[in-house]
Amino acid sequence: MEFVSPEGLRLDGRRPMEMRQIRAEIGAVSRADGSAVFEMGNTKVIAAVYGPREVQNRSQQINDQALVRCEYSMANFSTGDRMRKPKGDRRSTEISLVIRQTMEACILTHLMPRSQIDIFVQVLQADGGTRSACINAATLALADAGIPMCDLVTSCSAGYLNSTALLDLNYVEDSAGGPDVTVGILPKSEKVTLLQMDAKLPMDTFENVMQLAIEGCKAVATYIREVLLENTKQLEYRRGV
């Protein structure tokens, strides 16, 4: 099947290096300490952060840093067919672990000993790139909760189909069977906190694809910073500062 037309257009009309449209909203869950909704094209994800708060399970308490817990789940209605078991299956457990490790790398946990930070991410609509959208939503929610971080973590995926490197795969391109590289970086220092790939790629092609994904991450980071600054300004106007 042809994923990139001879004119260089993908199935949804994008160019190979074009990301889908991103949109973010902060403060969607008023009860949570921090929350955000993040959309990448048709993929829509909501994240809620609770913390730092007292550790609920005393045996898991760490004396010199905060405990970070993450739970990823997909809503039953998020995919085409209604899902039977939205969380607890292997894929959800793996993605929960991946998001937890990625966020733990950037949270300054040593400032909050003996406490717990909970990150809950739920996919409302899945159209490829849910992992990346979840990490971006979690970053926004953590920043909204005022949890100290060393840098924002942004994530983007890229693939390689029809001998072309494609940025930000959607579901159809993802299920084509080609390689799918997900990268998560700290944009200011360009340090990689997450790098995952399924399928195989020759080394030089992999470098191109990974570099493309990193550029996508930086674009997401610019957008996230704008959203955070705008949100803070709005809050200040409302407070009358």
């Binding site: 950037c106 971080m149 200011k188």
Partner: protein, 205 residues
């Protein structure tokens, strides 16, 4: 004291300055690998010059650490108050036992807390005088609101509180009849409905 109010808003990861010129305060951190101060919160950046407490005769050397101003980032979300040793708290007595009373800390200073903290008032910390003759039940009853000060972080379960000062002790209590009692002396409170006098360690308001 702020010399200039900065209107710069920063997000986590943004560079605030070099560690040789600035000290990292709240909301900022120093990355050791390149000695730069970065922001860790979203908010306004503010510079606080250090207080000058030494006499002005000899200017301090230029690379003395006390001369650097502190840079802080104030976020918009206020975190709940956390008890700190030495602070005055308002707590509600939950249990009164033979040698201690357990209380739930509800306010630290003038701010209420997001989630309750557990505190313990030991029998030797209730009063300043005659601490071996203290009777727990004539000092506190369950449900009393007390003003106490934090002695220390305590053990894993609870903070250690103390009411051993004149202005610390029971602030508000309900009588057995259900009415809010009126304090008469530093050991007694009277119910306005029945006239019954009950014993408490009353705070001097």
């Amino acid at each position: 004291m702020r010399e200039k109010e900065e209107l710069v808003m920063v997000t986590p990861g943004e560079v605030l300055g070099k560690a040789s010129e600035l000290k990292a305060g709240r909301g900022a951190y120093v990355a050791t690998h390149n000695n730069t101060v970065y922001a860790s919160l979203t908010g306004r950046r503010s510079l606080n010059p250090p207080p000058s407490d030494s006499p002005d005769k000899v200017p301090p050397p230029s690379d003395s650490p006390d001369k650097r101003p502190t840079v802080e980032v104030t976020g918009h979300k206020a975190h709940g108050a956390v008890p700190v040793p030495g602070s005055i708290v308002i707590a509600r007595v939950a249990k009164v036992m033979a040698r201690m009373a357990s209380a739930d800390i509800m306010c630290v200073g003038s701010k209420s807390v997001r989630e309750k903290f557990s505190g313990i008032i030991r029998h030797q910390d209730i009063r300043a005088t005659e601490i071996d003759k203290v009777d727990m039940h004539s000092s506190f009853r369950p449900g009393d609101i007390v003003r106490a000060s934090i002695l220390s972080l305590g053990d894993a379960r609870a903070y250690y509180l103390s009411t051993a000062k004149n202005e610390l002790g029971v602030v508000s209590a309900e009588s057995t009849a259900g009415a809010t009692m009126v304090p008469i002396s530093w050991t007694e409170m009277q119910c306005p409905l029945t006239g019954q006098i009950e014993q408490r360690k009353v705070a001097k308001v």
